[in-house]
Amino acid sequence: MTPILVFEQLLNGLQFGVMLFLMAAGLTLVFGIMNLVNLAHGSLYMVGAYATVAAINWTGSWLAGVALGLAATLVIGMLTEVIALRTLYERDHLDQVLATFGLILFFNEAVAMIFGRTALYMSLPGWLQGHVQIIPGSIYPAYRAAVIVVGLLVSAGLWYVVARTRLGMLIRAGASNRAMVSALGINIRLLYTLVFGCGAALAGLAGLMAGPIYAVQPGMGEMILIQVFVVIVIGGIGSVRGALVGAIIVGIVDTLGRAFLKPMLATLISPTAAENAGPALASMLIYLLMAVVLAVRPAGLFPSK
């Protein structure tokens, strides 16, 4: 457990946290503006990954593939909003949960039908392979570093929109009040579709960035979605700032836990026991963290409503 190793894992945690934030921001925006709980958010993450893989293969260019993949996710997201989700804005959360659950089944199976069930891998262009030196004596995968940079840039952009623009004002005002929003002279339907599209694009970005690191397979969205829920619960729903703080905390805790819990436990209890208990505890760590946060702050760290 050398300091360099810890530093690398911290970076990994930051990278994971940044991806969690992209997902959490999209989810919390949609909930904050449209009062819609969208379980199919994970499916858009998956669509982002698959669309990009397909686009890369089709165009032969990584950059073109990424751009096309993002665009495709945006379009699919907006189509989903128009076709299936519009009717749900007026319904209660239970109905929204159930309907979007049905969408998950659809997306997962559709993707399996088109691409098969085995995991795909996304190839990286030459300039993203290899390593960079962050601090002397330690090299770090270039791609992961790029993910951190892009993620932080997008986060900054999001912050700017939320804090400085009129749209951001609506978001911060907790504008799930249609009457108020339309009184400001804004086309509600268009706004909602656009916001949903943004959320979809964020999810798609997270998905395509995840491609080279994790496996691209049906159901990948739900695995991260539940972790995104933990982020939102810890951070406080409706709050973009809470999503950022929660995402970084969850990302780092989860990554460090998986890396170091087993060896740490092995020093306390027998190595064979740690073999089982280590991974088990590590996978439960963020949920236990969530339970502790809830016990102290039932509405999360930065509740906005």
Binding site: E109, M113, N276, A280, Y287
Partner: protein, 309 residues
């Protein structure tokens, strides 16, 4: 009230006659199918208590199927096959887990509650995966079925009638609970929470108690399920299974006695039909579920009789 009793009598009779009929026409597969549906119906009935009557949108109810099943499986693994002991452990373990999860979750509400129950169940799922002794991801075979005097759970027909009996008993149990003072307080909390506090009733203890009861009942279903499948995996505790349970409650009509049972039969038979058509049956089921949410409000029970208050 009359119509309801008639319905149950006819329904129970039909189910009771199914095994001999299926054996006679040489289709014993349907005995297994309906047994599975009835066991999951028990889980749906338990969920209906807190979801339909209590208004708690618990997206993690499948956890107790898992806890119950693993209680049976783990005891059998270590050579304890006494059915009474296994089932009692399944029920008590589920109740304890429900108490732990519920005490934290029920302090929250709305979307938080949905996410938190989902997250805790996922945590249990990961716990199940990571314990290699009990099969981890792949799960494990049941070493031996639960042993009860006189009843062999390995016999398809005997276990069918056991499942039928438990299903009817659980339906009656929930029916009885919701009509007691306890049940009325629970239903009142769902109907108008502010008003309920204003008359001096605090919803929290009622909701927590109902959550524990529902968990325990679902644990019983889990114990039966392990005996039915003869195999247990963490897959019993996935969010997909939780979602399926929720649909069984909603489709049938919440807050009614027959609702969750009808919903279970409807959904699981539909899945069976779709599975027969294509291996990609979920791509059809998904949109159907979405449509059902968008279009239907009262559920199936409303067709047979007016749900009793």
């Amino acid at each position: 009230m009359r119509k309801e009793l008639v319905f149950w009598f006819v329904f129970a009779a039909l189910l009771a006659f199914l095994p001999p009929v299926m054996n006679a026409v040489g289709q014993p597969y349907y005995i297994d199918l309906v047994r599975r549906i009835m066991i999951l119906a028990i889980a749906a009935v338990s969920l209906n208590l807190i979801l339909g009557y209590g208004g708690l949108v618990s997206f993690g109810h499948a956890a107790y199927l898992g806890v119950g099943a693993y209680a049976v499986g783990i005891l059998a693994f270590y050579g304890v096959t006494n059915g009474w002991l296994q089932f009692a452990t399944a029920i008590v373990a589920s109740a304890l887990v429900a108490a732990a999860i519920g005490s934290i979750s029920i302090r929250t509400s709305g979307i938080y509650f949905i996410m938190i129950t989902l997250a805790f169940t996922q945590m249990l799922y990961y716990l199940g995966i990571s314990i290699a002794e009990f099969g981890g991801d792949d799960g494990m075979r049941l070493k031996a079925r639960s042993q009860f005097p006189l009843i062999d759970l390995g016999d398809p027909v005997a276990s069918y009638y056991v499942a039928l009996a438990f299903m009817l008993a659980s339906v009656y149990l929930v029916y009885w609970i919701v009509n007691t003072r306890f049940g009325m307080a629970l239903r009142a909390s769902k109907s108008n929470e502010a008003r309920t506090r204003a008359v001096g009733i605090s919803p929290y203890p009622y909701r927590l108690a109902a959550f524990v009861i529902a968990g325990a009942l679902c644990g019983l279903a889990g114990a039966l399920y392990a005996n039915h499948t003869n195999y247990l995996t963490p897959g019993f505790m996935t969010w997909q299974q939780s979602g399926e349970l929720m649909f069984m409650v909603i489709l049938g009509g919440m807050a009614s006695t027959a609702g969750p049972v009808l919903g279970s039969f409807a959904l699981l038979l539909l899945e069976e039909v779709l599975k027969g058509w294509t291996e990609h049956w979920q791509v059809i089921l998904g949109p159907l579920l979405v449509l059902s949410v968008i279009l239907f409000r009262r559920g199936l029970a409303g067709i047979f009789y007016k749900p009793d208050a």
